[in-house]
Amino acid sequence: MSDNFVQAIKAAEVSPGGMKAVELNGRELVVCNCGGSFHAIDRRCGHMNAPLEMGTLDGSILTCAMHCAQFDVITGEALSGPVPPYLGDETPPPRIGALLKNVGMLMQHIRTEPIATYKAKVESEWVWVAL
């Protein structure tokens, strides 16, 4: 990780527990405010590339809005994969079952990868991110 800090966003624009997407040097990032401590991560979910700022941030744990995969925004670690729409042993309704069977075949090979993290600091009311 380099220490080439780039001005990203005004710190006041991201409340504690909030997130905001920014584009820095052509790179899509999300600036997260974990109770006053700022962190920056890649914008795309490590599961299926959903925009992570649409999710929720609880402490340092980000839950993706699309399939509820969870990540630690400090380490970038994937904490859980997607939550399945039906429990493993359950029989979904027939129409949905057929759809899920096909989708499931495609999705079973998709791994949840960790996301990249970037150093962030607040200076002169701005959040700076190291790219």
Binding site: I61, L79, S80, G81
Partner: protein
């Protein structure tokens, strides 16, 4: 996925849910670690962290009542025992979890 990291995440979310209900994690750290690990394994298999000490019946309405922390679904029973069924959570005032018996609701005269 790293089991230890997932355990930490479950601790984070569970604490927020059980504390307002008057419960806390058991002071028996070894037991808590073991039970959380089993829950992580169940979550990997089924998609949700079921209670590791109750049977999965393949009946959604019943199975959803054993998703950890299942305290709201068994409130009267667990309050009487001062612990949840598997012992991961105990009443806030409990310091000696080994002294709490694991008794069915029927044995306790609740059902």
């Amino acid at each position: 996925m790293n089991i230890e990291s997932r355990k930490k995440a479950l601790r984070h979310f569970f604490a927020k849910l059980v504390e307002p209900m008057g419960f806390k994690f058991t002071p028996d750290a070894e037991l808590a670690e073991f039970l959380l690990e089993q829950e992580v394994k169940l979550e990997v298999k089924h998609g949700v962290p079921f209670c590791p000490c109750q049977p999965i019946r393949r009946d959604r309405s019943r199975d959803m009542q054993i998703v950890c922390p299942c305290i709201p679904f068994h409130r009267e029973h667990f309050d009487a025992m001062k612990r949840c069924w598997c012992g991961l959570f105990v009443h806030r005032d409990v310091t000696d979890p080994d002294s709490l018996p694991q008794m069915s609701a029927k044995e306790m005269g609740i059902e």
